[in-house]
């Protein structure tokens, strides 16, 4: 378990120009030092390197938000799309060109707020996409308003008297929507993040990573420490084929479990589409 101070991550990114992942590194990230999103980006570099995805076949699609800046930091094709609309754009890319590796990245506001209508459909269609949701329970880019995953009572500029609504839990949503690969990670756990992103990309079908990725500037409630204190790895021997057990574990807030909750190998959208096309040939 690696434990990083706020500044070290940025410093490391600066130095990493010569690392083994340099082939996939592009512009230097512009996030605040210590931002959780560094870990997700690092994880994606690692995965690209481990799976040796040629940049020409690698497409990263993002929404809008601090998290949305991913494409500019990665060498590959990038599409910095619209707030909440990364998933449908990525769907078009993947269905039109199934040979590409397509990763979708976005924030909590992006994915379960404004874009919340797209997530279920990508999951149930089992498009061969990897979706990384960087959850800081805040609207980072717009400077700190409550998001759909903010805890009740949380105060912000737009919730001066405290958040009245209950938070959504993206992990349970993914399970309910029928995603075939569901994992939760925490940006303090760099190795776990890299490991699970790699597995997610390898998965044939819709893979979902719920990355707890604290905003060090605007979120004073959900922080590295608060998450860390509640964190626990999934119990030994958890059956990743058991969706309802996964659901129960994912619902828990004390502790907040991390790891691979669920994975099933069923035909992906691409497999089904191919079957239809082949059937039409004769």
């Amino acid at each position: 378990m690696s434990f990083l101070s706020k500044q070290t991550v940025l410093d490391e990114f600066k130095k990493a120009k010569e690392s083994k992942t340099k082939e996939w590194r592009d512009n230097l990230p512009t996030w605040c030092p210590g931002c959780g999103h560094f870990t997700g980006l690092h994880g994606l570099y690692e995965a690209a390197e481990r799976l040796n995805i040629p940049p020409k076949d690698f497409v990263v699609v993002s929404g809008i938000g601090c998290s949305g800046r991913f494409p500019f930091f990665i060498k590959g094709f990038g599409l910095h799309g619209l707030h909440g609309r990364a998933i449908p754009i990525a769907t078009g890319i993947k269905v039109a060109s199934p040979d590409l590796t397509v990763v979708v990245v976005g924030g909590d506001g992006d994915g379960v707020g404004i874009g919340g209508g797209h997530f279920p459909h990508a999951a149930r269609s089992n498009f061969n996409l990897t979706y990384i949701l960087l959850d800081n329970s805040i609207y980072g880019l717009t400077k700190g308003q409550i998001s759909p995953t903010s805890p009740m009572g949380m105060k912000s500029g737009t919730s001066p008297y405290g958040n009245i609504a209950r938070p959504l839990n993206p992990t349970t949503l993914a399970l309910a929507y029928g995603a075939t690969f569901v994992a939760r990670t925490f940006s303090r756990e760099r190795d776990m993040v890299s490991e699970l992103i790699t597995k997610a990309i390898q998965h044939k079908g819709f893979s979902f990573i719920h990355d707890l990725s604290p905003c060090v500037v605007f979120n004073k409630v959900v922080t590295y420490d608060s998450v860390n204190d509640a964190s626990a790895m999934l119990p030994e021997g958890h059956d990743i084929l058991d969706r309802s057990k996964a659901m129960t574990l994912a619902e828990s807030t004390e502790p907040i479990y991390q790891g691979l909750f669920f994975r099933e190998e069923v035909p992906s959208f691409d497999d089904h589409a191919k079957q239809v096309r082949d059937g039409l040939k004769d």
Partner: protein
């Protein structure tokens, strides 16, 4: 009576086989080489209770519109058809069912509303249908049989047509339907032996029937459509249905998305991946798409949106026609956001126009909004489409080896078009964004970058003009009255001009599938040669007139028809006549 042109409307509710009636009648007429136009109208979206009607106009001459008025109204349902009586011409006819079960109140009876200038004809539709089929099915064929006799059309053509429409059904079903047809035919022969003649001596080769929606789908597929994403909406869904059926056969795919934002998003994605893609929608959907249209402008990702206009605003009049979406098509969206707007005027142009739309979108990396409308989209008509099939067509500006070397996705060029590579192609990678950006695609908000990039995006619209068709000028060159129109209204304008011509008033017309950009010189020259300019369109505001006024500084006579039905040619002719008498004063 001897006719060379007839308009018939079937009116009823679900289960009456209204649409099938139109199909059979139209099919039979097209087969004997007549020109046919069919317009189906559904008054409600809900099938169970809604009334629907099919209007069929056929003629020995080419048709441009649904014309004015009905020669025959077939009221399969009494009450539902009453309102349609007002469309029946003086001297026109009505067929109504005399075998409805149970009493009909005087005010609900179609017959009781028939005025003396119209002739009613009773036909025991339900009874004869039951006699033939044992159920109410076949009512439509009873009526068609009667019509066939009434206008002395060749029955064998109809029987062929019944066979082909019901080809997928069992032989027994075909037989009972033919029986229903025969009973209707015989009933009229016995009870109304005095029939009318239709001039079919001018028989010619069978003609193909198509709708605007069909033509758009076919045109797109023939020029390399690989991906379609959409969300069902009347009256555009048919395009999606055709794409869903055909694309998988050609290695492509159609996705029904969760909403129109997703649909256009997926289309943008597919274009980003280098594949020809499109979506089709109507007003409410187009409204949802505006942010993505902006993205397409900013990121210079091509996209094609077919917008089959219906009555608006909001959910509006889903089953009625209007040309009210010109403004949103031209201007909808934030910022300086230029886009190509095209509007086909007939089914032929739906086919060739959508192919042009793809070429332009791909070459100039721009959104193209293709504005059809409910009437053009849904009507079926006999057309001669010049097929142009090249499923690998590509007009993308690819980078030269030098350009690849130090790839600039948004390189500044003379024509405004930058080289474009797509994922999977070797040589360079890039990221794109809806943020303002520098030549490489990196976000950049500097003043001179923004003005340079904005100018570049607009420059494309100047350079593309050379690839666009010239405006068509029709009518009499020397006429003082000029008409400018767009979209499906053109059909009614042409017939209106014809009516005026018969009254001795000469007119000319300028029309172009291109709304923006246009070959402005030809418009300027045309307007300069007119003493009066008339601009008719199907909306309240005069959206096209507003464009022409601001673009060409003209002061036209505007005809605004916030329409639920296709424009009446007579209405246009009347305006022409008025204008002409003003001119001569």
């Amino acid at each position: 009576m001897k006719y060379s042109e007839i308009t018939i409307r079937f009116c009823g509710i679900a289960g009456d086989g209204i649409v099938a009636s139109g199909k059979i009648l139209a099919g039979a007429c097209a087969n004997i080489g007549l020109h046919v136009m069919v317009n189906n109208i559904y008054s409600a979206e809900i099938r169970g209770l809604g009334k629907s009607s099919a209007t069929i106009r056929f003629s020995t001459e080419k048709l441009y519109s649904m014309g004015d008025g009905l020669d025959l109204l077939v009221g399969m349902m009494s009450k539902e058809s009453i309102i349609d009586l007002r469309d029946v011409k003086v001297g026109g006819n009505v067929i109504y069912d005399t075998s409805t079960i149970g009493d009909v109140a005087e005010e609900d009876s179609l017959a009781s509303h028939i005025t003396p200038e119209i002739q009613g004809h009773g036909l025991p539709i339900k009874k004869l249908a039951n006699e033939a089929t044992g159920t109410n099915q076949g009512k439509n064929l009873v009526a068609i049989g009667a019509i066939c006799y009434f206008y002395s059309l060749p029955p064998e053509m109809f029987i062929d047509q019944i066979r082909s429409v019901f080809a997928h059904k069992e032989e027994h079903i075909i037989d009972i339907n033919i029986k229903a047809f025969n009973l209707g035919y015989e009933y009229f022969r016995e009870n109304y032996p005095l029939n009318n003649q239709f001039e079919i001596d001018k028989r010619s080769e069978p003609r193909a029937l198509t709708s605007g929606n069909d033509a758009i789908a076919k045109g797109a597929i023939d020029c390399g459509l690989k991906f379609f994403a959409g969300y069902p909406i009347t009256p555009a869904t048919k395009i999606m249905e055709i794409a869903a059926k055909e694309l998988p056969k050609l290695g492509g795919w159609t996705l029904q998305m969760e909403d129109e934002i997703a649909a256009i998003g997926a289309v943008l994605g597919a274009w980003f991946a280098g594949k020809r893609a499109m979506t089709a929608t109507s007003g409410p959907g187009l409204s949802l798409m505006s942010e993505m249209i902006n993205m397409s402008v900013m990121a210079e990702i091509p996209t094609i949106i077919v917008n089959v206009q219906r009555g608006g605003p909001s959910t509006g009049l889903p089953t009625k026609v209007e040309q009210g979406d010109l403004n949103i098509a031209l201007y909808g969206g934030a910022g300086d956001s230029p886009r190509v707007v095209m509007a086909p005027t007939n089914s032929e142009e739906c086919y060739s126009g959508i192919q042009l739309a793809f070429d332009i979108a791909e070459k100039y990396q721009t959104p193209v909004i293709f504005l059809s409308d409910l009437f053009l989209g849904q009507r079926t008509e006999t057309v001669t489409i010049k097929e142009n099939i090249d499923r690998n067509r590509c007009t993308r500006k690819k980078p030269t080896p030098e350009q690849l070397e130090n790839f600039q996705r948004y390189q500044i060029t003379d024509d405004g078009v930058s080289p474009l590579i797509v994922p999977g192609e070797p040589g360079a990678v890039y990221s794109t964004t809806g943020l303002e950006h520098s030549v490489t695609g990196n976000p950049n908000y500097e003043e001179d970058v923004h003005s340079m990039m904005t100018a570049k995006r607009f420059r494309k619209f100047e350079s593309m003009v050379e690839d666009l068709p010239e405006a068509d000028i029709l009518g009499e060159e020397t006429a003082d009255i000029g008409i400018a129109g767009w979209g499906s209204t053109i059909g009614s304008i042409l017939e209106g001009m014809e009516i005026a011509k018969k009254q001795g008033v000469k007119t000319k017309l300028i029309k172009s599938i291109m709304i923006h950009p246009q070959h402005e010189d030809s418009f300027r020259k045309f307007f300069a040669s007119c003493k009066k300019i008339i601009v008719p369109e199907m909306n309240y505001q005069g959206q096209y007139a507003a464009l022409l006024k601001s673009r060409y500084g003209i002061k036209p006579i505007e005809i605004h028809i916030p329409s639920v039905n296709p424009v009446s040619p007579l209405k246009i002719a009347q305006k022409i006549m008025e204008t002409s008498s003003e001119l001569s004063q």
